[in-house]
């Protein structure tokens, strides 16, 4: 277990390092932030002063080494635009995104697994076919369009749900959350559903395929021969077997929910870090972009680690030391 964790941390370190080089060079290649930041009427002396203040006058590799040196002590530099610490800026926005992503994940699980089980147990029935038909829609409709439709129907036409912002929040362990207030819940419902739509379809398909396969296995027939109730056969024998692939995929998808909440956050004006990223890219605010991506990569690493641990809990045949090889 310890060896496994150590190896994982080292692998992650390398991934983060490579990542930071790529982003650094990438943002440098896009353009010079000074062109955007400085008043267009500024003279060359002023521009030089600004460039020097941000450290942009030095060669790229020197800039990178300085960044790296500071990064090891946890400082990812200050935002070119806001002047404040990039890490602070992102961490300030992160709770909103995390809340949205987890709400979407919960919706995907709570709706996806029962619907998938139902469709898997009754593949020929009208209800099973309807579920599968809808899941194809969920896969193929673009997120932004569905988001706009949701706003049009539920905010504009019916006026039931608010179309932007987080609503009122309550602090939980020092972090603001929306889901604990009625107003916040109304605000998060549409964006979370919008973000979850694709994942619901994914979970339905995975669950259905797994269920259909598991129901043909001898262990299910043996469970029936033992006289177990159908609820126990499906709820314990089948579900525990099909959870293994679902956990893997959802783990990876949680990362993408967090990282790519950008579209949903833009449509519903959700004050998360996805929106911050878009703004920072357009302003070439390199420290924020680099810090954001490094945080996202770190999150992916942690999520994968949790998935691996969950895996070994679900499937006794998988041992963590074996997974490290």
């Amino acid at each position: 277990m310890l060896v496994f964790l150590l190896r994982r941390v080292m692998q992650s370190g390398v991934a983060l390092l490579v990542m930071s080089v790529l982003v650094f060079v990438g943002v440098y290649a896009i353009g010079n932030p000074i062109d955007i930041l400085v008043n267009p009427e500024a003279d060359s002396a002023e521009i030089e002063r600004a460039t020097a203040a941000l450290g942009l006058d030095r060669p790229l590799w020197t800039q990178y080494l300085i960044f790296l040196q500071k990064a090891f002590s946890g400082d990812f530099g200050n935002s070119f635009v806001h002047g404040s610490s990039a890490t602070q800026l992102i961490l300030h926005r992160m709770p909103a995104t995390l809340e949205l992503a987890f709400a979407a994940l919960v919706i995907a699980i709570v709706l996806g697994i029962p619907l998938g089980l139902w469709a898997g147990l009754r593949p020929e029935s009208a209800s099973g076919r309807t579920i599968m038909g809808l899941s194809i829609l969920g896969f193929s409709l673009p997120t932004f369009w569905v988001g706009l439709m949701l706003i049009m129907v539920f905010s504009v036409q019916l006026g039931w749900l608010p179309s932007n912002g987080r609503g009122s929040t309550v602090d939980l362990f020092g972090l603001p959350v929306s889901i604990l207030t009625w107003d916040g819940l109304k605000h998060i419902l549409m964006p979370a559903l919008n973000l979850a739509l694709f994942k619901i379809s994914l979970v339905i398909r995975l669950t259905r395929a797994g269920t259909q396969e598991a129901m043909l296995q001898d262990y299910v027939r043996f469970a029936r021969a033992k006289g177990l109730k159908a609820s126990r056969i499906v709820g314990v024998h089948v579900l525990k077997n099909i959870l293994i692939p679902i956990v893997t995929v959802l783990g990876l998808e949680l990362g993408s929910l967090i990282a790519f909440a950008v579209v949903t956050e833009s449509i519903f004006a959700w004050p998360g870090m996805g929106k911050l990223l878009i703004e920072s890219i357009s302003l070439l605010d390199r420290p924020v972009v680099v810090a954001y991506l490094l945080i996202v990569v770190a999150m992916f690493v942690v999520i994968n680690l949790i998935v691996d641990i969950l895996y070994s809990l679900l499937d006794p045949r998988i041992r963590l030391n074996a997974a490290a090889d």
Binding site: L216, D218, F222, A223, A225, K226, G227, L228, H237, P316
Partner: protein, 336 residues
């Protein structure tokens, strides 16, 4: 002579599969009886419908398969028309089943303990600790060393033979009246096969449990069963007391099966194989399905026939063959 009420009385059971190629008659007009404490050997080649007969009795046929006719009387109650919830209560409690492949029958992600305790708790309100104690006893009965420790193991931590012992322990947990064992030794090494066979035989004899032992191996039946039923292409072609059937088979197919067993004292002699192959269950002839391969076939064999009962020294015997039909046969219909 009036016989006591049999534990299991199957009559005219038929299970069909509707497939794209037509109706597959996996089980066709099967009748068999098991008396209390008796062991019935159900013998047949792969695909003869013997496993499906077992599944049909327990109501475990998966679609597109369907039991289309017949009665399955368990202690006088018809399992085929029974309320599903009552059938569930009987399954695993009064009638248990052991499957062919021990690698597949136990759920890989659940502890042996879970799989045993749930079998007890599905049929009686019993505390977890008492269920555990019962499970440990059951594991000890089937010869699992240090059963209390092994209870918390997962199936993959057992060998094939040990897994089959666990499956047998689970099947016998609730002291059923009838056990259907579907080729439980086929997937195991020869030495383990003998052990499992002896184990099941001993446990069933001790507890007066009736047993249906499904196998393709007539030599296994010889030492184990009281009665034997031989299946061919979904039908029972011959049944009766095991010593009479093995000593003087009535049906040419049984004769062929006996001839095909290699004997240790006949080294070097060519094996007598039955020529040809089993017919497709989707397109069976109207008469005897074995006629094409039968050395003694005659014109009459293409006419449909039922079972004939013949008195024997050790008890009544039944066969489905025109050679033994006492009824004057009608003229064969013109073949098209």
């Amino acid at each position: 002579m009036t016989e006591p009420l049999p534990v299991l009385d199957v009559s005219h059971l038929s299970t069909h599969f509707a497939t794209a190629k037509g109706v597959v008659r996996a089980v066709d007009d099967v009748s068999l009886r098991v008396q209390s404490g008796q062991i019935l050997g159900l013998v047949g080649e792969s695909g003869s419908g013997k496993s499906m007969t077992g599944f049909s009795i327990l109501g475990l046929v998966d679609p597109p398969g369907k039991v289309v006719a017949g009665n399955v009387l368990f202690k006088g109650q018809n399992l085929l028309t029974m309320d599903p919830e009552r059938l569930r209560q009987l399954r695993g409690d009064r009638i248990a089943m052991i499957f062919q492949d021990p690698m597949m029958t136990l759920n890989p992600v659940l502890r042996i303990e879970t799989q045993m305790v749930e079998t007890l708790q599905a049929h009686q309100s019993i505390s977890r600790s008492l269920a555990r104690t019962r499970a440990i006893e059951a594991l000890a009965d089937v010869g699992i060393p240090s059963p209390a420790e092994r209870l918390s193991a997962y199936p993959h931590q057992f060998s094939g033979g040990m897994r089959q012992r666990v499956a047998i322990a689970i099947a016998l947990l609730n002291r059923p009246d009838l056990v259907i064992a579907d080729e439980p030794t086929t997937a195991l090494d020869v030495t383990i096969q003998g052990q499992i066979l002896a184990l099941v035989q001993r446990l069933c004899r001790e507890r007066q449990t009736s047993l249906i032992w499904i196998t393709h191996d007539l030599s296994v039946i010889a030492g184990l069963a009281d009665q034997v039923a031989v299946m061919y292409a979904g039908r029972i072609v011959e049944s009766g007391p095991v010593q009479s059937v093995l000593a003087a088979p009535l049906h040419p197919y049984t004769e062929g099966l006996l001839g095909a067993i290699p004997a240790l004292h006949e080294r070097g002699e060519p094996l007598r194989a039955i020529p040809g192959a089993t017919p497709s269950l989707a397109s069976l002839p109207t008469g005897c399905a074995f006629a094409d391969r039968c050395p003694r076939a005659f014109a009459q064999c293409s006419v449909p026939l039922g079972e004939t009962e013949i008195a024997g020294d050790a008890g009544p015997r039944r066969t489905r063959c025109w050679l033994h039909s006492p009824v004057p046969a009608p003229m064969p219909t013109i073949q098209r």
